[in-house]
Symmetry: C2
Subunit: 368 residues, 2 copies
């Protein structure tokens, strides 16, 4: 495996498989999203599940983000270790050991966490009091993804009231993620569905505020809906993540597909050329993922990834790609950046085809 000794060398010399960031493209994506949010009421709280890197999170904050989102407590710890100070964990933190870590972490950073169960809220409260810390708590509201969360309306109000009374907790607002709609086909149809799904959350906000409990934020949204949720009155924070790198699947979603550009690649070697049309590359399910479709050859768009086994990508080559020989190196755009990054220990950061840095994927493996 390469170390930081590759810095300053041409990308062509970097061995494969490797996870490569196009630094210019990533910085353009961060700037474009920042430009969109400039002057708006809604703020951007980028989801770091995509990059798992405090270095990149800091760039997003420098560009104006209001804080950072993550999925796991271990990721939040990695962010704090990397100097990030305002972190929203968009999930439930369950169990004695994790709650102890949560309230400990809240002594060193501003932490928010989602809750959908009063018993869990009581446990966090007890631990926070014992640790002398304070945790911001969001009621997670189900907006149709039917995963976690209480229903909008009375159930959400009831939980908010309980949280507001518990010591060591600061009731922060509502977590609501329309994950089932972020890739809904057709921008107008997507907007209609999202507005319909979010309407009960806005009503719930009014319900909670009418009960005398301030709602600081409604937070949610993603790369597929950032330009919709950010325009809904009463929606405050957008947790878009994928925009920083984009991927083949989001590239096909109208809206983000037109605004952001691919900034993450799998650097790969052709390891076999058995026939004129067939090539095999050295990425597979252990270095890429197929949950949103196969990685695709970035520089030979008419060629096709036929299958992905554990350590092989089988390709059907068309046109000039047929000149690829065993040993040649190629770039793949991942099908899904979030799950692909999770397979790698480090990024090779490249500008003008030269390696500029090697960054750890600091949150990888921090799944607890």
């Amino acid at each position: 495996m390469f170390g930081s000794d590759i810095v300053g060398r041409p990308l062509a010399e970097v061995d494969t498989p490797a996870l490569v960031i196009d630094a210019d493209a990533m910085e353009r994506n961060i700037a474009r999203m920042a430009e969109f949010f400039a002057g708006r009421h809604a703020g951007l709280r980028p989801h770091s599940k995509t990059h798992k890197s405090p270095v990149i999170a800091q760039k997003q904050l420098d560009a104006g983000a209001v804080g950072i989102t993550c999925a796991k407590l271990g990721e939040a710890e990695a962010l704090v270790e990397g100097g990030i100070r305002d972190i929203l964990i968009a999930n439930q933190i369950i169990g004695r050991q994790k709650i102890a870590r949560l309230v400990g972490l809240a002594r060193h950073a501003d932490i928010a966490v989602a809750v959908d169960d009063p018993e869990n809220a009581h446990q966090i409260s007890d631990a926070a009091v014992a640790a002398g810390s304070s945790v911001r708590v969001l009621v997670e509201v189900n907006v149709g993804m039917d995963r976690c969360g209480v229903e909008p309306g009375a159930p959400a109000l009831r939980l908010a009231e309980q949280i507001a009374q518990l010591p060591g907790l600061h009731f922060f607002g509502i977590q609501s993620y329309e994950g089932h709609l972020v890739m809904f086909k057709g921008h107008q149809a997507r907007e209609e569905r999202v507005r319909e799904a979010i309407a009960p959350v806005i009503e719930t906000r009014q319900l909670i505020e009418s009960a005398g409990i301030p709602v600081t934020v409604i937070t949610g949204g993603g790369t597929g809906t950032f330009d919709i949720t950010s325009r809904i009155d009463g929606f405050d924070e957008i947790q878009a993540g994928s925009y920083v790198f984009m991927d083949a699947s989001y590239g096909e979603v109208e809206g983000p597909g037109a605004v952001f550009e691919p900034a993450l690649y799998l650097w790969s070697t052709i390891v076999s050329r058995p026939t004129a049309e067939r090539a095999v590359a050295d990425i597979g399910l252990k270095t890429a993922t197929s949950d949103h479709g196969f990685p695709v050859l970035a520089d030979f768009r008419d060629s096709t990834t036929i299958s992905l086994s554990e350590e092989h990508a089988k390709l059907r080559l068309e046109g000039e790609a047929r000149e690829l020989r065993s040993g040649d190196k190629v770039r793949f755009q991942p099908g899904h950046v979030c799950t692909t990054v999770n397979l790698h220990d480090r990024y090779v950061v490249v500008r003008n085809d030269v390696v500029e840095a090697v960054w750890p994927v600091a949150g990888r493996g921090r799944s607890q």
Copy 2:
């Protein structure tokens, strides 16, 4: 994340998600496979891509395995670092940097590698001579998976003749993997297909031997075909891997499904119970995989995993599973053990519900 301080503690106290080995079940699987191979001509060369652990590889050798298989050069290095000395890399090793590592490694262990291209054979030969080492080389022959490999017959003979003449290389035999057939439905139909696919390889062996070049081994096969390939005259080594842990997908394949038992689990916490039927567990695509189907609740077989998002498994509970509450811990059997293990840094080894050891997944991330 837990460390070795959990050794001696009850599994119930281990935080989640965690990758758990049932030590008794794993040892029974290793013993059953060893028993099958005892007294046979064909030997077992277990594929370590499944476990990526030299500790487990050593157990397989202790039970009679003739050597170990792996997929990547980095995995071979991890095996050598863990004390393993006879290693077959069942893939092409391409490029100057990797070939330098390959011939270096061959000074410290008996290494075999697959080749399907004469230029690659020449490069390995040149490097081996320069390093003063010797590498065993297999001609990879395509048996219908249409991935890497030369065609059987004359093309394989031609490559074998070239390899046999090159200094620093020891022509070792034929690598042939019928990966497209290992899960073929119906044991008898599978056996017919496998025998048909392997017949040209056996003929190729005769062709090469008729040219005066000794063929030490034909090596290939998997958990789905070990009892077929091992009975084919002229087939010498079986590279089964999954049998050591089994998984939900292989459990449905007649033959191995009846012989081996599940020995690997994802230890998980229920983090949300929004409705009577719905539960959400804290495993997802970043701790489990879906390429051979979703992980399934091991102790509540009538319940169903409906979806797997990045950090959540959504479950439809039936029967007594409906009594599961938030905070309860459950065992999942992975859909595909090989890709699931690849997501974890360590194993929690459990016997009689007590943690006996914590082992690193030494080959994880060694994808180069």
